[in-house]
Amino acid sequence: MSDRPVDPERPWERWLEEPPHPAESHGAAAGIGSGPAPATSRGSDAPPGPRIRPVGELTRLLRDLLRGDPRLRDLWVEGEVGQVSISAAGHCYFTLKDERAQLRCVIFRDERRVVRFEPRTGLRVVAHGRIDLFEPQGAYQLYVDALQPAGFGDLALRFEALKAALAAEGLFDPARKRPLPSWPGAIGLATSISGAALHDIRQVLARRWPLVRVFLAPCQVQGDGAPESIVAALRRLGGFRDAARGGRALDLVILARGGGSLEDLWPFNDERVVHAVAASPLPVVVGVGHETDVTLAEFAADVRAATPSVAAELAVPARAEQAAGVALLGRRLGAAAGRVLSDGRRTLEAERRALESARPEAILAAERERVGLLLDRAARAVGARLATDAARIARAGDRLPLLASSRAARARAELRAVRAGLATLSPYATLERGYAIVRTPEGAIVREAGERRAGDPLEVRLARGGLDVRVERVRDSGP
């Protein structure tokens, strides 16, 4: 063994292989300076006998030894964090321990920015780094360049393996993704009945689209049994038929859970849950955890949402936008009706001229009255409805302040314009001013007194109602 050529780079190997020299263990006690000069002991050809080494040299030797061992580089260590201190320079010193031992660790200031995760006393962590020896203190330490809560490494490995397997099954295939219905009438919700997710989703739906009916299938969203519970909830929602909607199935399902630790969110990486999401007969929106959390169930979802609130927003249309759209249609409706009426007035005028030139008076009267009655009905329909519209829109405006004043004001302006137009259209507007229409029982309009005799029955149409009368006396005079 000692015959082996010594590697000039690793002279200590030979030194280590030698059986401990008896003098060596006593060297320090035997008296300083009793041996040969230490400076000469480095060479491989050092003479036998007690060898006394300066601390610095031995420490350097140990340092090189530690640095040279590949097992002490690129190292993962798991343990519980003991004392933590931050130096004035910003480096973080802490110990990692288990039942048997402890290990000094340091994260330099620059590494701390990258690592982000701060060790706290009592936490179980997994640290990555290398072992080195800090010569001034003679202490070996773990120089940490990555730090995670314990369990993460394990979960991360399982996550990647499962993700690859499920992707290979095609569960995350974009071609599988179904679009969400534009107008969901009923939504299924799979989440915890006591969680923040339910609260958030209710708030968003109540504000954004309260027209939707929500059916909650409560499930356990963390811990043992959660995957089975989630799968059962999805199955219940998928099979549910809403009697109030004629036995129809739900339009979509939201699967949600609020933020939590990686372990808390783990059920959403469970193979059974991922399969159940992919196999759902209804489109599924999955919103789990915070923006930064990623779960496999999200990959299998038809729509992936960053959070439960976002899931709710993606699931339904926005009320404010729809209210604006409905208001616009209402204005177009009013404007179109106004145009129809003015067209009607022009037609009436044309007909009147045509009929008057033909002079068949009975036909003229009947025709005029028909059109007049129609316009009268139109006036009542448009006028009355626009009035109630205006009131209703004003009331709706109180609830939707953004749209209120402009909607109501425009509706009232339209109402006034249409009414003004209608007032001049109707023949009854003339009666309102005190005129009357006098007709024979056959319906012919009476224009000349000379055509009538005393005793003839006549009908008088007034603004409101009519009179059946008889001629008392004929006064045949000029116009």
């Binding site: 107008w183 009438g185 006591s194 909650l216 099979g239 179109a336 329909a381 209703r392």
Partner: protein
């Protein structure tokens, strides 16, 4: 849940005369999207013109009923959440979940 459009010339207005105030029963039962879709059709037809006056009025009345229904749904709707409860036989029953249910729980 009817989403038929009125047939031209049919006496549609009979379903809701101008004086009775309430919308025709079929409109009152319509889902928002069905009512909105028909309202869009009504407005488009009325805007295209070339309709007899009587039909225009009937369309207008129908349009107003649809518009009111949509506006009312948007302004009056309150979110209703029901909880699915599995019964012994496996059948599902629903119970209303009031707004403050469950939110006090841990």
């Amino acid at each position: 849940m009817s989403d038929e459009t009125p047939t031209p010339g049919a006496p549609i207005a009979a379903a809701g005369t101008p004086s009775d105030g309430g919308p025709p029963a079929d409109v009152a039962a319509m889902a928002f999207d069905a009512a909105l879709g028909e309202l869009q059709q009504v407005v488009a037809r009325l805007e295209s013109g070339n309709l007899p006056l009587e039909e225009s009025i009937a369309l207008y009345e129908r349009g107003v009923a649809l518009h009111d229904h949509c506006a009312r749904l948007l302004s009056d709707a309150e979110l209703r959440v029901q909880r699915l409860v599995q019964q012994a036989g496996g059948a599902l029953r629903t119970i209303d979940l009031s707004p403050d249910d469950a939110e006090d729980e841990a």
